[in-house]
Amino acid sequence: MKTVAVFVGLCLVFVFVWERVDVVRVGYQIERLKRDKTVLERQRDELRVKVSALSASDRIAKLATEKLGMSLPQQGQIIVVQSRPSTVRPSSDVVPVELKVAKNYLPSGRF
């Protein structure tokens, strides 16, 4: 009986010590993960700023004009065209569309 009591007591001591050690171990693990998280968050923020800077209209326009040879449409070259509602039901192979075209892209140069 005594032996059993001593054994149980030792087990309890062991469990207590193991628990304390494990708490410290998990504590270190949490700290390491927190550091990793901070580093990753920092990288994410850096990348978000970079994406935002790279997608700035100013930069895109510069690249388009200087590298790709594109140019801004001149006045009167942009016409937003809207389809008019029709009383006649369109056939299945014809669909009304809303088009945005630059005038100089039309073959004839005018509508």
Binding site: D93, K100, F111
Partner: protein, 572 residues
């Protein structure tokens, strides 16, 4: 004999043990009872570290969620001079990374101090290079640095924040209480190597970041406005320029451009004069653009109708011993033509018929002489004197936009009121405030300030202002396929040295809205001191046209003019 010796040895041993225990007991009592408080504090100092943390400053995005201002943690470098052996060697190693002169670094590192900043808020790459060197006596801490990824775009609205992260100008300043992160002190547990084990107490949490702001500004519209304004200011060799684009139905600011610009990322490289948001701080004499408001007041009060005939005095009229001139010698013209031809004499006559009390009442109703209460700091109220301070010529002068100071924001708000059918809206730039998880904390709805004129009057004025574009002084503001309404303005600047109006310095402006029958945009362009052809119709109106055309296309607003085409495509 042997037994007594053995007993004696036992007593000695017992005594020694007792003495030993006595010493231990004494030491225990000393440590645990007598010095308990003092030692406990010392132990805490070794095992715990209290750090002050601040949550990141909130992000600012445009109406489509594009990032305009954001915090990123970047390295700041410090030295511990009193532990260094060779400051010069260290300074030479650090100089190319920190981009600070060797002499300056050496001077800092030779100080008899335990802490000195060497460089703050560096680029992340500089921090990584420094990490690789792993230098003794040099430490790195991470601090939040504000980035404005679009550079100078929208700088006057965004403002900027200082070295310690506090908002100093613009939205950054106005919404400081929302943007600023939470400050919190945390107690950390340290091990024997002074590594952090775990925050003391499981309930400790990191400080929360500041709230995010969603602006009413559209980055693309802002870019178009800034590009066209910069171009116009540069071509006219003007002193400065301002352009505002509003949604006339809500008062939401879609773009607010000021030239010259500055980059909030390198704010100290620009003079404070450049930081000023002229769109809402600087008052100017509006000149003929004021005639639009005067026309609205006169029609609302039934003083005139669009077809009322007014005699143009052939270009000269004397009022209070001064002569008012017109740039065109007009005879009998309709009131609509008075506005379309921008006749000073016709405007002065109508203003005098309206009378000073009614004119003053409408100036106030349109919001002149008072702040629009836009959610930006530093707004000016302009200058509108009360009628008791007016001179004999004041009614005539004010009717044609002199003797009155307005800000571009006041003027475009007033025009937007005509555009939307007569209601003065409060302009605003922030539409939503969100917490760190993206939940909306506050939504800022459009706010009506008051009704100024009736819908019928607004329609009449719109028709007159359309004539300014088709037959009047603002033909260069026309946009192909759209009905445009607006008014030009060319105001001589007051010269404080001579006490008279300058013959060579002007403010050229154009303000209007499009499409005239269902306005989506109300805009103002103000060019300060253009050289050469300084007429509002020549300098400012083309900017209105170019911006309007591109923005309407970007927004997908269908044309309502003669080029509307119905099309259908056959499925391929």
């Amino acid at each position: 004999m042997a037994g007594s010796f053995s007993r004696g040895r036992r007593y000695v041993l017992l005594l020694l043990l007792l003495c030993g225990f006595g010493v231990v007991l004494f030491r225990l009592v000393t440590l645990q009872v007598l010095q308990a408080a003092e030692l406990s504090v010392k132990a805490d100092r070794q095992h715990q570290k209290t750090v002050s943390l601040e949550g990141a400053r909130g992000t600012i995005v445009d109406r489509h969620g594009k990032i305009l201002a954001m915090n990123v943690e970047v390295p700041s470098v410090f030295g511990v001079p009193n532990t260094l052996d060779s400051p010069l060697k260290l300074a030479r190693q650090l100089s190319p990374i920190l981009h600070v002169k060797t002499d300056e670094l050496e001077r800092k590192l030779r100080q008899d101090r335990s802490f000195v900043w060497l460089a703050r808020k560096l680029d992340p790459e500089q921090g990584r290079r420094l990490d690789r060197l792993s230098l003794d006596g040099i430490g790195v801490v991470m601090e939040g640095r504000r980035f404005y990824p679009k550079g100078p775009l929208l700088a006057h609205v965004l403002g900027f924040s200082g070295m310690d992260g506090e908002g100093l100008e613009g939205v950054e300043h106005r919404y400081e209480s929302y943007l600023r992160g939470e400050k919190r002190t945390m107690v950390l547990q340290l091990d024997a190597l002074r590594r952090t084990v775990f925050p003391k107490g499981m309930t400790e949490r990191s400080p929360t970041s500041g709230h995010s702001l969603t602006l009413t500004i559209d980055e693309v519209i802002q870019y178009i406005a800034e590009r066209e304004l910069e171009d116009a200011v540069s071509r006219a060799q003007a002193k400065s320029g301002t352009m505002i684009v509003l949604d006339p139905k809500t008062g939401a600011v879609l773009a607010m451009a000021v030239s010259p610009r500055f980059d909030p990322n390198t704010v100290s490289a620009f003079s404070p004069d450049r930081w000023r948001n002229r769109a809402l701080t600087d008052a100017y004499e509006p000149g003929s653009t004021m005639k639009a408001m005067m026309a609205a007041a006169a029609i609302e009060e039934r003083v005139v109708r669009p077809n009322t005939m007014v005699f143009g005095e052939h270009g000269h009229m004397t009022v209070a011993n001064t002569v008012i001139h017109d740039h065109e010698r007009l005879g009998w013209v309709s009131f609509a033509q008075v506005i379309q031809k921008s006749s000073n004499i016709g405007a002065a006559k109508t203003g005098m018929a309206l009378g000073e009390q009614r004119l003053y009442r409408y100036l106030q109703a349109f919001g002149f002489g008072q702040r629009t209460e836009i959610d930006l700091p530093g707004e000016g109220a302009g200058l509108v004197r009360t009628p008791k301070d007016w001179g004999r010529r004041s009614v005539a002068s004010i009717s044609m936009g002199q003797e009155i100071g307005v800000t571009p924001l006041q003027m475009v708000s007033a025009v937007a009121a005509i555009a939307n059918g007569g209601v003065l809206m409060k302009p605003y730039v922030v539409s939503e405030i969100r917490d760190t998880d993206g939940h909306i904390l506050r939504q800022i709805p459009p706010q009506v300030r008051r009704r100024v004129i009736s819908q019928e009057t607004a329609r009449s004025v719109t028709k007159i202002l359309e004539g300014v574009i088709t037959d009047g002084t603002g033909t260069k503001a026309a946009i192909r396929g759209f009905r445009v309404a607006g008014k030009t303005g060319t105001a001589q600047k007051f010269d404080p040295r001579t006490g008279t109006y300058s013959a060579s310095r002007f403010v050229a402006s154009f303000t209007g809205y499009v499409p005239a029958d269902n306005p989506q945009l109300a805009m103002i362009v103000v060019i300060d001191e253009p050289r050469g052809d300084a007429w509002g119709g020549a300098v400012a109106a083309p900017v209105f046209s170019r911006v309007g055309e591109q923005v309407l296309s970007y927004l997908g607003v269908p044309s309502n003019g003669p080029v509307t085409v119905a099309m259908a495509l056959r499925k391929s």
